[in-house]
């Protein structure tokens, strides 16, 4: 059996994205051992939305069997996915959900991701105190879902007060600067909900201000940060959005191409086309394990996990 799968990534501004592609390629290689020839064809470069639509067109022209996309927009691909489907191509989105009924989402539930961090923080703070949130790019669906996630949790903690929410565009330095400004004007905060790489920045500011012991904040999953976490015994908890999501999506895609059917059809999420993967969580309890997994990896390498072929097979009839 031979399957040709196109991987499209429209933004290369973070190491997480390159790791995502690498892991997906490795996953494809693993299928060889099972006698399935999975050939991946990758388009990964900074493009605008039309540019990524062109990615999909290129794949259609190339005649791939399936397309796995980390989309630059949740909604912009509806017409082109329809065309892909017409051409008999399986479309799977990962990392960010898409509205197209012609695609399946395989990845984590970003709302649950946001909620998990918030839950940890609320419990850590004993359900009371002052909290600030440092969010990603306003208007970006993944960000808005995560925001909705933490809001839904904090709603249940009346003594927990969110005093300010700012956006630092998923940029570590901007996260650091935002935290610094916040610390100056809200010297008495107890907790911070912060996403991804910005967490490293925020923690840097917290440490520079000498407030490491007074503040609990969510963390992130790169080795550099985990090392710091271990060394300075930070009061942190990190929800994991593993870069392995695309590898998971690829395994699911191959099984679907083989004509297998999901035990539970992918009907979750706001667009009723999602299949959610489990979301790992790192806190003081399993920090050691996480650190072990990352041992010997470069500093920007993210803690990861993915559905193995067997895990994925188990999801199918």
């Amino acid at each position: 059996e031979t399957f040709k799968i196109g991987l499209s990534n429209g933004w290369v501004g973070s190491e997480w994205r390159t790791q995502m592609i690498d892991e997906a390629k490795e996953a494809a290689a693993k299928w060889k051992e099972k006698g399935v020839d999975v050939e991946v064809s990758v388009q990964s470069a900074n493009v605008d939305v039309p540019g990524q639509i062109a990615h999909v067109r290129n794949f259609i022209a190339e005649g791939v069997n399936a397309i796995i996309i980390n989309p630059n927009s949740p909604t912009a691909f509806d017409p082109i996915f329809a065309q892909a489907k017409e051409a008999g191509i399986l479309v799977i989105a990962t990392d960010a959900e898409v509205s197209s009924p012609d695609a399946t989402y395989v990845g984590i539930d970003q709302t649950a991701w946001g909620a998990a961090g918030a839950k940890w923080l609320a419990d850590t703070l004993g359900g009371k105190g002052k909290v600030v949130a440092i969010n990603g790019v306003a208007g970006h669906p993944a960000n808005e879902m995560r925001v909705a996630g933490y809001k839904s949790v904090f709603k249940d903690y009346p003594d927990l007060q969110v005093v300010n929410e700012v956006n630092a565009n998923w940029d570590q330095a901007q996260g650091q600067q935002a935290m610094q400004n916040i610390l100056a004007t809200y010297p008495d905060i107890n907790g911070v909900v912060v996403q991804d790489g910005m967490a490293a920045g925020a923690w840097k500011s917290i440490m520079d201000a000498g407030k490491t012991s007074q503040i609990a904040a969510t963390g992130e999953i790169r080795k550099d940060f985990i090392d710091l976490w271990v060394k300075d015994k930070l009061n942190s908890g990190a929800t994991v959005n593993p870069p392995g999501v695309m590898a998971s999506a690829l395994n699911v895609a191959v099984l679907m191409l083989q004509g297998k059917e999901l035990k539970e059809p992918a009907t979750a999420g706001q667009y009723k086309n999602a299949m959610y993967l489990p979301i790992p969580f790192i806190d003081s309890k399993n920090l050691g394990d996480a650190a072990k997994q990352l041992d010997g990896k470069p500093g920007y390498y993210s803690y990861t996990n993915a559905l193995s072929i067997d895990d994925a097979t188990a999801l199918f009839k």
Binding site: S44, D48, V49, A76, D78, G139, E144
Partner: protein, 330 residues
């Protein structure tokens, strides 16, 4: 007045040079044809009727945006808010179409309002740049932030779908031909008539030497504002095309397109300094960007090198465009 002319150059207009003077987009056309050929070489499928139609419909938005940019560049200005204007119009028309029920009437009314919004954005830019005399690069960057804020206010998160009527029309066929061909034809007619208008000549004269144009008696401020209005208009049209192709609203969709629109203008053979521009060139330039991206893929570039090769290819094509364009004027 530091013109590039020297009084020793012989003012002969021979062969190639006079061709280039008349059709400054020729180099861009050559580059485009070469890229098409290369794409076809690596992936014959990419030259199919279907693929070419797809290329056109996907890059129609960038084409419109590049043309929008060309009009302000003509007058020696620049608009870094073109992409944000596109986003704003995109979310506004999607929200309006949805609110009004998505029927034909609603679609047309929303489009009409979209044009007005584009014009309004153009007017704001024109006022701050020409009337208040702020420096175009920074002032339009500031307005781009403002417009993005507005777009986020109108639609806090991407997601609202456009009515099927709208995008099915745009992506569909009419009398056996893809609808984008009609869009292209209409665009060609519009550009032809615009090129014959007084305003375009006046924009170019202003871009050439603003003080001289003023002393000649041209209403420089009004002319520049009109340039921004044209830019706003075409940004709105770009938003229509994008909405047709993406069938949804996204408050951030245009952000990355601004710099590509500037690149497309230069690729096409226009002088960024103003006074010498070609809308046809900008159209070709936008397609060139699309083809470079595809070519990098079809050549089989390893994924980690794709961004680099793409950047390098665009830089090289930019250089080629500028060099050829300069030959035309030198």
């Amino acid at each position: 007045m530091t013109s590039t002319a020297t009084d020793i150059s012989s003012p002969r207009s021979g062969g190639l040079r006079s061709w280039l003077e008349r059709y400054p987009f020729l180099p861009a056309l050559v580059i485009l044809i070469v890229l098409l050929a290369l794409n076809g070489l690596f992936s014959p499928n990419s030259l199919s009727y279907r693929s070419l139609t797809g290329l056109l419909s996907t890059y129609m938005a960038l084409i419109m945006l590049a043309i929008a940019q060309t009009y302000v560049v003509s007058a020696g200005d620049i608009d870094l808010s073109a992409g944000a204007t596109l986003s704003l119009v995109n979310v506004a028309i999607v929200v309006l179409m949805e609110r009004w029920g998505g029927g034909a009437g609603a679609v047309l009314l929303a489009l009409a309002l979209g044009v007005l919004i584009g014009l309004a954005c153009g007017l704001v830019n024109g006022l701050v740049v020409a009337a208040l005399r702020l420096q175009a690069i920074v002032a339009t960057f500031a307005t781009s932030i403002f417009f993005t804020g507005l777009a986020l206010y109108v639609m806090p998160v991407a997601g609202t779908p456009a009515p099927a009527l709208f995008w099915r029309t745009y992506g569909g066929r009419l009398l056996g031909l893809p609808f984008v061909f009609y869009v292209l034809a209409a665009l060609a007619v519009l550009l032809y008539f615009l090129s014959r208008t007084r305003i375009v000549t006046e924009l170019l004269a202003v871009g050439d030497d603003q003080q001289a144009a003023y002393q000649t008696g041209l209403p420089v401020v009004a002319v520049r504002i009109k340039g921004y209005l044209l830019c706003g208009l075409f940004s709105a049209l770009a938003a229509f095309c994008l909405t047709g192709d993406t069938a949804s609203g996204d408050p951030l969709v245009g952000g990355k397109m601004t710099l590509y629109s500037v690149a497309a203008v230069v690729l096409g053979g226009s002088a960024l300094a103003g006074g010498w521009t070609t809308v046809v060139g900008s159209l070709l330039g936008a397609l060139t960007i699309g083809l470079v991206n595809s070519l990098v893929f079809f050549m089989g570039t390893p994924s980690e090198w794709q961004n680099f090769v793409q950047g390098l290819a665009i830089l090289i094509v930019l250089m080629a465009g500028v060099l050829a364009g300069r030959r035309a004027r030198a």
